[in-house]
Symmetry: C2
Subunit: 338 residues, 2 copies
């Protein structure tokens, strides 16, 4: 005689049917007070935990959502996922995280895997640049909320911000200060709509100001690459007076390298970042950068996903960003002008 399991075991011990056990947990009002109490006690004593797979199969709901991000090894994404996870937990969902790197062009295989593992919806950083995946998600009708970049997508809502406008604000600030020789230090643009938008804004702003195009260097997001970049810029574009970085991480490296090279920031070189990490305000000099609300973005993306999963109309949202002026920017040759 096989050992009974799950509801069957509880039902046997409590002397009721499995239907009643199920109701005691899910529709307590339908079960007589004393019976319900007995069931709950027995279940507790037995260490009963409902089987999630059976439940999911029966209800056709897993309550699992996927968070697809480049990496957890960058504070901005970690914060995003942290807030997202908290929000989803509060709504009764479980978050599985999937780090796929910064290039969104070949992510179908890994994302399919999380859908196969039960993800009913996806929060994804940036736009999906993978046609196979687009098609897959469309036919599966998997709700998707895009974050970080905002676009009035027909396929799915986006809870992000206007990357071009944000970068534009930085450049305009530098132009207004009198800079005419700007360089941009961007992250890898391949399959990354945020970086592409920011680089585009750099070119557009300079063109509009009638200034010759400045160099754009692409580097992966590490301090060391920021350090290396300063060397390259000084060698190839010695007249540069301002370096616009597409990430605080890169800007930190540049700042560090400036110190090493005996360049004063902002007197000899203005430097800007993007993200407004906690460190930005703490550096010497504090970094002028763009503040994005990663926490809020994660929280709202979570809300929208819940709405989509309950069948409601999940609308996108374009969040504001803020240019945070700190001491790493000043007019060119500020020292001479004093």
């Amino acid at each position: 005689m096989a050992e009974k399991r799950g509801v069957f075991r509880v039902a046997e011990s409590a002397g009721v049917s499995i239907a009643t056990v199920s109701r005691a947990f899910n529709e307590p009002a339908l079960v007589r007070e004393d019976v319900r109490k007995r069931i709950l006690e027995v279940a507790n004593a037995l260490g009963y935990v409902p089987n999630s797979a059976a439940k999911a199969l029966r209800l056709q709901r897993t309550h699992i959502v996927g968070a697809v991000i480049p990496t957890l090894d960058h504070a901005i994404y970690a914060r995003l996922v942290n807030a997202f996870q908290a929000q989803m937990s509060a709504s009764g969902y479980t978050v599985v995280v999937l780090a796929v790197g910064f290039d969104n062009t070949h992510v179908a295989a890994s994302i399919k895997q999380v859908v196969e593992r039960g993800a009913e919806a996806l929060m994804i950083v940036g736009s999906i640049e993978d046609d196979e995946l687009r098609h897959f998600l469309k036919t599966k009708r998997t709700p998707v909320v895009q974050t970080y970049s905002y676009a009035s997508e027909r396929d799915h809502p986006a809870v992000g911000f206007d990357n071009a406008a944000a970068m534009r604000a930085v450049i305009d600030h530098l132009l207004k200060l009198g800079h005419r020789h700007l360089a941009m230090l961007a992250g890898p643009t391949r399959g990354n709509d945020r970086q592409i938008a920011r680089v585009g804004a750099f070119h557009a702003a300079l063109a509009q100001a009638g200034i010759e195009a400045g160099p754009v260097i692409e580097k992966r997001y590490t301090f060391q690459h920021g350090i290396d970049a300063l060397g390259e810029i000084r060698a190839d574009h010695p007249r540069t007076t301002a370096i616009v970085c597409s990430s605080d991480i890169l800007a930190f490296g540049v700042l560090h390298a400036c110190r090493g090279a005996g360049l004063s920031v902002p007197d000899d070189m203005s430097v800007t970042g993007f993200d407004d990490l906690d460190f930005a305000a703490l550096l010497d000099p504090p970094l002028t950068t763009i503040a994005i609300g990663a926490d809020e973005m994660g929280r709202i993306a979570g809300e929208r996903i819940v709405v989509a999963l309950e069948g409601g109309p999940a609308e996108g949202l374009c969040l504001p960003t803020r240019l945070v002026l700190r001491a790493s920017t000043a007019g060119p040759r500020a020292r001479l002008m004093m």
Copy 2:
């Protein structure tokens, strides 16, 4: 006539039984070449994805593991989860993350929830200080791997390091430099075995050196708390010449506050951290700290969990830590002695 779903639909379209469809995916060698090919094509055209819940129910395996951490908002845990996730992904598992804060005494409810959601095993930061949870996991026979702290646990293996020894190395270094008035800036100790071990090491080292006990201040892990702490230490313990921080984050705040207060580091004050975040080397002065291998820890914890889940003997591992000497430490009043 109801629309067929899942394997049933594929089977119908391919003109085979559902058993054969299942085999085509899971035991391809058992299916005739041309039949298998046809099934795979049909499945692909139909956008078939196996139902994870049904599979899990039938196989009694979810392939889901939980990562229980304080928060993703701290680089060390984010890195740990990042490495853990990569490792688990490679082994065919999915990671759900759960952030429970720094106090491990009342985490039963949320952790039970992830087990209910299907987690077959848990990676958890620190020891479990919640008796109810201990009991729950034991009766459910849920494999657990503890990280960050190492203890030869009877209940579950630990892939961590010796927090006391690591902190001890820092103190010994400072004592050797001649410091006699040390203060410690720790994280919240409640329900946190790592912090308790480190504070214990601080007291023990001073006692053993025959030095009067230095003050221990507990603060949450933010820059601002590090900044605040310097003020308190200078006010209450003005003779302090070295501040031992239990986290780089706190040390960064202290460093920043020292600059603001016109204190030279290390000449007027030595400061040490813990974690060796990327920033530690980049600061001015660079921070003396303890390097812990968060990536390696995550990866190995993943390996051990896989072993435990496959029924093997998952052994714990005590990883080495390394005292990284940088310019934020020197002998007391180094300036005067020059």
